[in-house]
């Protein structure tokens, strides 16, 4: 088993990065790897509840975040400063996440076998 860490740094809509990252996380979980899923920068918007992308003819891919627990993905983090910069708090989020600092994120990266930023 390897530790695969994903840094999701893009907003949920506008580009396909968020979906691409989520798909990699789910594939890694299916193969029963240790996954760290870190939301940072604009990526923290993916976590916010209440998206209604039907208005822009986009699929609500972030609804699949609810399935992470079923896939056994437990290490889900949000970079605290990214939330703070956007005036967001845990109360705005649709799934439980752990807050992490940049220092904690660095140590997660250091202890990972593979790091993917999307």
């Amino acid at each position: 088993m390897k530790t695969l860490t994903f840094l999701s740094r893009h907003a949920p809509f506008g580009t396909s990065n968020a979906k691409a990252c989520l798909d990699m996380v789910l594939a890694s979980a299916v193969f029963e790897q240790q996954v760290n899923y870190i939301f940072m920068d604009e990526g923290v918007w993916q976590l916010v509840r209440g998206h209604e992308p039907a208005g822009i003819h986009a699929k609500n891919t972030m609804a699949a975040l609810q399935a992470l627990e079923l896939y056994g993905v437990e290490n889900i983090f949000a970079l605290e400063e990214s939330l703070t910069e956007r005036n967001l708090s845990l109360a705005h989020l649709q799934i439980p996440v752990r807050l992490c600092t940049r220092a904690e994120m660095s140590s997660l990266i250091q202890t990972s076998d593979v790091v993917t930023a999307l």
């Binding site: 798909d23 594939a27 890694s28 299916v30 193969f31 593979v114 930023a117 999307l118």
Partner: protein, 130 residues
């Protein structure tokens, strides 16, 4: 060292696919082994045999295709990314009743599991284009 490479950037609007090719060539020259190259998102456009480059510009698709054939590399195009962008092998073209297939020589179409497998079997996985 055993290395796998993931490419995500568009070959026509970003530099990353050329950077990835240069990296792979340098890695082989330095005596490393490439376990797999995985093309994801816009980088799957590299798998098209139908692109036309202007005469005074490099045809990166042709360069990648030649490279993976020359070294017999495992070059995998992500199926979910490919179908959306119209990159089809014979099997997919027939399955979805499309008028033609366009996958260039040297590439295979497969799933994200191939990327996870590459992570498990490589000492390093290097990404280009994110």
């Amino acid at each position: 060292m055993i290395i796998s490479v993931m490419v995500t950037g568009s070959p026509v609007s970003q530099q990353s696919a050329q950077t990835a090719l240069s990296f792979c060539q340098a890695a082989l020259t330095a005596g490393h082994q490439i376990y797999r190259v995985f093309f994801y998102e816009d980088a799957v456009q590299l798998g098209s045999a139908l692109n036309v480059a202007p005469q005074d510009e490099r045809n990166l698709n042709a360069a990648w295709s030649e490279f993976v054939k020359q070294y017999e590399l495992d070059a995998v195009i992500c199926v979910a990314s490919a179908l959306k962008r119209g990159i089809l092998d014979d099997g997919e073209a027939s399955r979805y009743q499309k008028p033609a297939a366009n996958l260039a020589e040297g590439f295979d179409i497969s799933g994200l599991g191939q990327w996870v497998d590459a992570c498990l079997n490589s000492d390093r996985v290097v990404s280009f284009g994110a």
